[in-house]
């Protein structure tokens, strides 16, 4: 029985790797890679770097992440300069100001409450970073860094550190863990509750990472699958339907890019608020 299951499993694994070509072309676009594919204009191979035995090669997602960073820096250098110049915002700095005020008032202030200023820089940065990374995958030849689970897990880990750090700075390490326990529970429940609460601390950033990764991957996969219908069915008649649906998903993705950046930031804010104001 067990042997049988293992046999099927290895079979399907082999099958999957052999027939990888079937879905491989979708994955080729969604997955990280060692080269920038600008076909038909050419392919740029990225350098392979290894330090202390750890492979830290530059990959496609990292390149686009840096591209996003450059865009962000350019925009906000400009906006900061404009703000220093005059009191009345205009154009781009007006738009960015709306977003900054939104993050400050509707995310940081409303989720963290008192003492939100300390976390404002982090929340602003993570919001704009995720937003830009999400949107950069929507431009032609672009790739979404946030559809890489390593990226989202790193961001979630940083959020986790900020959440726990914020709580521990406010209440002290011992006081923070003591505050995690609900008041008025029986003594014999304490060990169980402790484990549950500690698990809860880790599930929150885990959910953050998976949510962002899954949302950003799924949209692209669906778009590619819809376009792929044309080649799978080998007919042009399906093209209008495919393109229409793909366009619809693409527009949906713009919305999802905004929503996911908002959700990641707002949930980070809520968790920070929970850690910083344990009395609630």
């Amino acid at each position: 029985m067990v042997l049988e299951i293992v046999q099927t499993a290895t079979d399907s694994l082999k099958n999957a790797s052999e027939n990888g070509g079937g879905s491989g072309w979708i994955m080729h676009h969604v997955l990280d890679s060692r080269k920038l594919d600008f076909s038909p204009f050419g392919v740029i191979a990225l350098p392979h770097i290894e330090v202390f035995g750890i492979d830290i090669s530059i990959t496609k997602h990292i390149v686009f992440m840096w591209f996003a960073v450059l865009i962000l820096l350019a925009i906000f250098f400009y906006v900061a300069k404009e703000h220093k110049k005059s009191r009345i915002p205009s154009g781009l700095s007006n738009l960015m100001e709306i977003l900054v005020v939104f993050v400050r008032d509707d995310i940081a202030k409303s989720t963290i409450g008192k003492g939100y200023e300390r976390f404002l820089s982090y929340l602003l940065t993570i919001f704009f970073f995720i937003l830009t990374c999400n949107l950069i995958g929507l431009i032609p030849y672009g790739s979404t860094p946030t559809s890489n689970i390593a990226v989202t897990a790193t961001l979630a880990t940083l959020s986790f550190l900020v959440i726990q750090g914020g709580g521990m700075i406010k209440y002290g390490v011992f006081g923070y863990f003591k505050g995690l326990m609900p008041h008025g529970i029986p003594i014999w429940l304490l060990p169980i509750m402790f484990v549950v609460e500690i698990l809860g601390l880790f599930t929150k950033p885990f959910a953050l990472a998976i949510r962002l990764f899954a949302n950003m991957t799924a949209g692209h996969v669906v778009i590619f699958a819809l376009i792929g219908l044309i080649f799978i069915l080998k007919t042009y008649f399906v093209a209008p339907v495919s393109v229409a649906f793909a366009l619809f998903i693409f527009l949906l993705e713009i919305l999802v890019a905004l929503i996911q950046a908002y959700i990641f930031t707002v949930l980070s804010g809520i968790f920070i608020g929970m850690a910083v104001h344990q009395e609630h």
């Binding site: 990280d32 530059i58 962000l72 820096l73 703000h83 400050r104 689970i149 390593a150 940083l158």
Partner: protein
């Protein structure tokens, strides 16, 4: 059961050729951390601080301006009330002054009228006194004149006391002369 296991195995398998979306590349983690931390630091220094400062500055400026405007409005209202009060007071004062002037004028008029009346009366009295005096004077003059004429006539009568005929003639002549005068 087998299917679930397959899915799980697939999910965690590391096939070299295609790779899975769930593969975690340690290099990406390191680069993401470094990139994000640098971005956080740079943006905090160069963007968030000035932008947030200028935002709160502007918010304060607007709040102050609104407060100032409100205060100015209240001040203006108070000033307006005061002005209105002053105006009313001034009007009252003016009314009083006019009233006083009118009273004064009335009094003056009355006084002048009285004075002129008494003056006129006095003048009339003076005039009648003068008339009486003149009358008296004229009468006295007449009296002396008549006396003189009488004396003159008497003198002539005495002088021409020679005959009766001439006497009566003379008397007639003098009477005629008298009436002529």
């Amino acid at each position: 059961m087998a299917f679930i296991l397959n899915v799980i195995l697939l999910a965690f398998s590391e096939s070299e050729k295609v790779g899975s979306p769930l593969d975690i590349n340690p290099g990406v983690i390191i680069w993401t951390t470094v990139t994000f931390l640098i971005l956080l630091w740079v943006l905090k220094k160069t963007a968030w601080r000035p932008i947030l400062n200028s935002l709160s500055e502007r918010e304060n400026f607007i709040k102050d301006s609104l407060e100032q405007a409100e205060k100015a409005r209240k001040d203006a209202e108070i000033l307006y009330e005061k002005n209105k009060e002053n105006l009313a007071k001034a009007e009252e004062e003016a009314q009083k002054v006019i009233e006083q002037g009118r009273e004064y004028a009335e009094n003056l008029k009355k006084q002048i009228l009285e004075e002129s009346k008494t003056e006129a009366k006095k003048m009339i009295e003076d005039a009648s006194a003068a008339i009486v005096r003149k009358n008296q004077e004229a009468f006295n003059n007449l009296k002396t004149e008549i006396a003189e004429i009488a004396v003159g006539a008497a003198e002539k009568i005495i002088r021409e006391n020679l005959d009766k005929g001439t006497q009566s003639k003379l008397v007639d002549k003098y009477i005629e002369e008298l009436t002529k005068n």
